[in-house]
């Protein structure tokens, strides 16, 4: 088993994702099963192979560095769970 409950807690924290304690062992076993299955990639030698991140051969396009949009604070805030004036609000960070 490649992932134990402790590792689940660690990566769940990295992902800011709460996994209830009673589910951690089950999640660890599911993730291990998937990662064990992925291990078959070790059969392939990839020495000297260039990684492929973008399937389109052309390089990503650039555009002029000019403002072409804006003035949409109401649109942006329209779905906010909590707001004050033109700001998103969150629980207090600094005492």
């Amino acid at each position: 088993m490649s992932i134990d409950a402790k590792t689940v807690v660690k990566i769940a924290h990295l992902a800011r994702l709460k996994i209830p304690e009673e589910e951690q062992k089950q999640v660890a076993s599911e993730l291990s099963k998937i990662l064990d299955w992925i291990e078959q990639l070790n059969e392939i030698d990839v020495t000297g192979i260039e990684p492929l991140a973008n399937v389109n051969d052309e390089n990503l396009r650039r555009r002029e560095d000019i403002v072409n949009d804006g003035g949409k604070s109401e649109d942006i805030l329209a779905n906010a769970p909590a707001r004050t004036a033109d700001f998103f609000t969150v629980p207090k960070v600094v005492e």
Binding site: I11, I19, I49
Partner: protein, 494 residues
């Protein structure tokens, strides 16, 4: 003939000849949508009959003024992954239950500009995470193929996924066409399982702007219709360069419809031997053989080809897709949109919000993605996967030097019952074994309904084309469609 049985092509002729109005066509479809709801198919997350009636009225006015667009008055369903301005868009996720976009996706804007009528937003696997449309916050979709009374059937069947609601809508005649999306087979596999046509165009052909992101290097808009010609009509409207998506490609969009019905005499069709996987359902294998014979008698030349790295496509995908998904889904933090679950401090607010917001499969994918991208594992997993992705791409480049298109099955079996394969994520992932490579290499693919299994459920065959050569793909697909002559309807329809 019932209005709901017409293809888009036929309906456009009927509208132009004033045999019926867009308002009448739309009302008929709205009744169908209601029937599907009453029967408990759970196809729609949000129904939009008022919008549909208004759009139909406007469409009739445009047609009367001689200003009808390419798809004017055609009632369709939109997958709930497309942002629709003013209409709730959930991605099938609890975390977006209350999200109402303030902007329109490029693809839906293009469809509206062409005159389509929106019947509603369809159910789906959360963010596209699934092949059975069971990983949704809104309950599974029941396929109209389950029986004449689907909700009471002993075995309630899946419609496939993740665009399961869209597939069930089109197959059951509850929409004339639907948008899907396709990150690993999410338009093609459900199309095969419901007896309709489903297509993923070349990566970069349609703008991804306003489609809620799952895995940005794999995501494409999908098309789901009942005929190949209808898919050609829809794609023509949906495709095209968009400055708002840096990966959309600036190439002219051909008139795909003109390819439909053309001869495939002399076309070279490759059969990848690695797709004869162990344990392939013998009926699927038999249908594949039949498909090969059909293409041969239509004049194509059949070529045996090899895609040596095929078996690695799924494990590569289950590194790259969750990695990209975990990054894309980082934005759901309960601050800017979506459902917030309070916590005593900022960090616990994030953790509570995200812990409650995603399905089990969503959580699983975020965790796998975070793990393979985390310090110490990046090279062993993510970088390795991208290198094997290059080898897969080289396989296809070589194969498509020798032939024009490839022919394969779409899915390893017919639809199964809701609840099956649920306990084993890897079993569920295997559903995409024939479709997933195309997203990794960016090529276009189309699933054509080609026959019924002995249990009476539809099976599809997939054609794969060269990048940005959907025209040849449509030619081959229409030849296969004609030869297969699939004219079966599910036992429950509008």
């Amino acid at each position: 003939m019932k209005l709901t049985d017409l293809s888009i092509t036929e309906a456009l002729i009927g509208l132009e000849a004033k045999k019926f109005s867009a308002a009448e066509l739309t009302d008929t479809y709205i009744k169908g949508v209601e029937k599907s709801e009453d029967a408990g198919l759970n196809i729609f997350i949000t129904r939009t009959p008022e919008i549909a009636r208004r759009q139909a009225k406007e469409s009739d006015a445009r047609r009367a003024a001689g200003k009808a667009g390419a798809l004017d008055g055609i009632p369709i369903a939109i997958k709930d992954l497309f942002c629709t301005k003013g209409t709730r868009t959930t991605a099938g996720s609890h975390i977006l239950t209350n999200f109402v976009p303030t902007y329109e996706s490029t693809v839906t804007q293009k469809l509206f500009d062409a005159g389509i009528v929106m019947l509603g937003k369809t159910n789906q696997d959360e963010f596209g995470f699934g092949t059975a449309n069971v990983n949704t916050a809104f309950g599974p979709v029941i396929s109209p193929w389950s029986g004449p009374d689907p909700a009471k059937a002993a075995r309630k069947l899946i419609p496939g996924g993740s665009s399961g609601g869209s597939a069930a809508a089109v197959a059951g005649r509850f929409a004339m066409a639907a948008t899907g999306t396709d990150t690993g087979g999410s338009s093609r596999q459900p199309a095969a399982m419901t007896g309709i046509v489903g297509m993923k165009p070349t990566y970069g052909r349609c703008s991804r702007w306003g489609i809620i992101a799952f895995a940005s290097s794999l995501d494409q808009a999908g098309v789901m219709t009942r005929t190949v010609a209808d898919t050609a009509l829809m794609l023509k409207v949906m495709a095209g360069f968009d400055p708002k998506d840096s990966t959309s490609v600036d190439k002219p969009v051909p008139d795909f419809l003109s390819a439909v019905g053309q001869s495939i005499k002399g076309m070279k069709i490759g059969i990848p031997r690695e797709y004869s996987i162990d344990g392939l359902n013998p009926e699927v294998n038999l249908l594949w053989d039949k498909g090969i014979a059909m293409m041969k008698s239509a004049g194509a030349e059949i070529i045996d080809i090899s895609l040596p790295h095929t078996k690695y496509a799924l494990p590569v995908y289950y590194i790259i897709a969750p990695a990209e998904a975990s990054s894309n889904l980082a934005r759901y933090d309960g601050v800017r949109y979506g459902v917030r679950v309070p916590g005593e401090n900022l960090s616990s607010m994030y953790e509570n919000t995200r812990g409650a917001g995603f399905t089990k499969e969503g959580r699983r994918r975020i965790l796998i993605g975070t793990y393979v991208l985390s310090a110490g594992y990046y090279d062993a997993y993510y970088l390795k996967a991208q290198k094997v992705r290059r080898l897969l791409r080289n396989d296809f480049d070589e194969a498509l030097k020798k032939c024009d298109v490839l022919l394969t099955p779409t899915a390893p079996s017919a639809a199964f019952a809701i609840g099956e394969k649920q306990d084993d994520p890897v079993q569920m992932y295997l559903e995409d074994v024939f479709t997933i490579s195309l997203n990794l290499v960016g090529l276009p693919g189309i699933s054509v309904p080609a026959g019924l299994a002995s249990n009476g459920l539809p099976l599809g065959l997939q054609l794969i084309g060269r990048a940005f050569d959907e025209t040849t793909l449509f030619k081959a697909a229409s030849a296969l469609e004609k030869a297969a002559g699939f004219n079966h309807k599910p036992p429950f329809t509008a």
